[in-house]
Symmetry: C2
Subunit: 157 residues, 2 copies
């Protein structure tokens, strides 16, 4: 471990947290934002720690040219949404989520702070109106970019 590299990105760290001191290589793959999520939470501080299937109704707006891909979506009660947590830093490998003595590796947490800040939530689909999905179970800030919509898939065992 190079202590100088750590110092270079030590801004805003809590006790025990470790940030990368290097810039990782971007993947030979680009994302498309396929829509946007509208929630009652204007800031990260207002967001719930975890989505609740009985929580407030949120609107997921699919953008062109993707709207036709919603065909048949109303058959599903539960959907999995992937979205891009655009406000999160991406360089922490060790995190101290409660600002205490417990430090966790980023991959042992569901924190928005991660190399690829992609959130995955299971939501309850209430209704579809044109290119809008009305769902419950989200946890993200108003305006979050959407990456994917899939039928739910959780193991039964």
């Amino acid at each position: 471990m190079n202590p100088r590299a750590r110092l270079a990105t030590s801004d805003g760290l809590r006790p025990g947290e470790v940030a990368l001191g290097v810039e990782p290589t971007p993947a030979p793959a680009n994302l498309y934002f396929i829509g946007r999520i509208f929630t009652p939470w204007a800031t990260r501080g207002e967001c719930p720690r975890r989505g609740d299937l009985a929580g407030p109704l949120c609107r997921v707006e699919i953008a062109e040219p993707w709207t036709e891909a919603l065909f048949g979506i109303e058959a599903f009660e539960r959907l999995q949404l992937l979205y891009w947590m655009h406000l999160a830093r991406r360089d922490l490998v060790l995190q101290n989520p409660r600002r205490g003595d417990e430090v966790h590796g980023t991959f042992a947490l569901r924190s928005p702070v991660r190399p690829n800040p992609i959130a995955s939530s299971i939501v309850a689909l209430e209704r579809v109106e044109g290119s809008s999905l009305f769902v419950r179970g989200l946890d993200c800030v108003d305006g979050t970019p959407l990456i994917d919509v899939k039928p739910e898939h959780c193991p039964r065992a």
Copy 2:
């Protein structure tokens, strides 16, 4: 709908399938590949349709500079993996997965073919050896790029 645009990308389509006729705008966000997945399946044709928690053992190799982010991962029996299905086309909005009369919107399917070909699987973690996770439950081709590792999160209700 512009029929000319559809013709331009009609190669390889099954009956009823529809591809975008336009190039979507890439998102102002880049991915990092954080590792690679090694499975017994050398081609897409050999892959199971769906992962099985009692299926063959696969190795998930985390790359530098991310390995330190595994700290504490061995506490979890189940993990969620996100990975990039690098062999899939990304322009289909309607698909005909069984080559029959049934056409589905891409967002009503878990097909690898989607705007952002990100797969999400819940896997059983058998053991950790250095920067390798040995897991069961995967469905992807050998060498698939890894995007994220999270503790499992499925609703109980």
